[in-house]
Symmetry: C2
Subunit: 258 residues, 2 copies
Amino acid sequence: MPDQKSGQDTRERILDIAERLFMENGYEATSMRMITGAAEVNLAAVNYHFGSKEALLREVFRRRLSWLNGERLVALDKLEAQAGGAALKPSQILEAFFGTLLRMGEDESLGGMTFLRLLGRTLTEPAEFIRTFFAGEYAQVIDRYKLALFRALPDVPKAEIVWRLHFMLGAMSYAIAGTDVLQVVTGCGLGDLAGEGGSDGAGDTALARRLAQRLMPFLLGGLRAPLPQLLDVAHKPAVTHDGAGVQIHDSGINAQNQ
Amino acid sequence: MPDQKSGQDTRERILDIAERLFMENGYEATSMRMITGAAEVNLAAVNYHFGSKEALLREVFRRRLSWLNGERLVALDKLEAQAGGAALKPSQILEAFFGTLLRMGEDESLGGMTFLRLLGRTLTEPAEFIRTFFAGEYAQVIDRYKLALFRALPDVPKAEIVWRLHFMLGAMSYAIAGTDVLQVVTGCGLGDLAGEGGSDGAGDTALARRLAQRLMPFLLGGLRAPLPQLLDVAHKPAVTHDGAGVQIHDSGINAQNQ
DNA sequence: ATAAAATTAAAACGAACGTTTGAACGATGC
DNA sequence: GCATCGTTCAAACGTTCGTTTTAATTTTAT
């Protein structure tokens, strides 16, 4: 076999290593020397191939997100074509949006859980260049799915849907990023719950699958929860508004097929 | 009035400024010189009062979290005393846990939305010392609330409850941290939805209140969603398991008072 | 084969990082 | 008065950061 350094290969190896190291340490705490050292390429290779550290991070995401969001648009197109003008079901929309993402976690060639964790963590990074980059990458997809949800839930105020879209994105991102973060907080890791604990190997794809099975019902339950009865916000109850205005049901588990 | 530099005051000013800067830039991207410069204290003051940058971050969280988690335990104690041995309602538990936190966002003297955003973002920071610190701060509270949820939902497998606890923590953290992050992604900020956009001032406390009103129904809806029908995970459907095994209801919004 | 272009290599750049030092300051107690 | 102790100060420490430079090397095209 030929020596593994054949031009284009350097680029890919840098991207793969950077993806993993950014996930493990975060953007700021990952140095160029760590990346080039682990990738066994020269320090100057990153600046030659990508221009800067910022551009490297953007490319790490771009190669995955362009595929992901493309798939998401295709999935939505397909659903809407099948529906033939009728509104989609919320579960279909969520499956298309979140299922497509979670399926990346099962495919190592698409980045696997490494990329999913990186994505979940980076969404909260405050750096300006990251946020504007994500805005551009997500603009089209979010807009399409937002409209689909508006049509699917015509009786729910649009502002409420946007709030719940935020909540769903958050639940998903943390569930992913937190498979080795929140487990420390809750003292009970999802890795344990999923059977195997390793952060690499075959256990990860199994984790992605179980995560999807658990996450989708939760998201749908939240999306379709009773609407809050909004208070007059000008008035200030200040200290204890303990649940007032939030009319909620409290029996066991919702009916399976209502 | 006396000069504002009177010993103990330096500590507090450093903590307040560090809290804001860590929130705005993240831990790694916030330098000691940024902190001491903005706080108008000498560069060495941080190392003198706290020992190191890591210890400063820990103290920033400790002064808020010890209060928060103390309040959470008190709230749970009070609820369980009222219930007199009976299991609590899920909504009571969520209100005690998440409501206590969200009420911090309305009180500037408790850190306000600045601390809430910092908390949401820092939960995904991968640095080891941060995670072990959070583990210690949260261990007791999470354990108590986990048990309360187990009792409140006796028919739900405990593993499922832990999963959904993760999801709820994620939804909350992102909803908070993302009031100026995810708005870029969704193209529709929660600040706009809440009426005012400023990241400081009176608009923030209003945001915290509306956030609570929106978030609690969502969380409860997710917590009480129908259980997933688990597949045999040894078998691998690989590419398209599109929603199979996730039995979900799909009509409009759940009944308000079922 | 040979010129041109693309890539890799080694070394150095200035800047910024967290931390430490040792002296000066200011209040307090005797 | 003076010694004391907690605090502040300016300056410097050694290290690491992202990036650049210049030359050597490999690949590509004619």
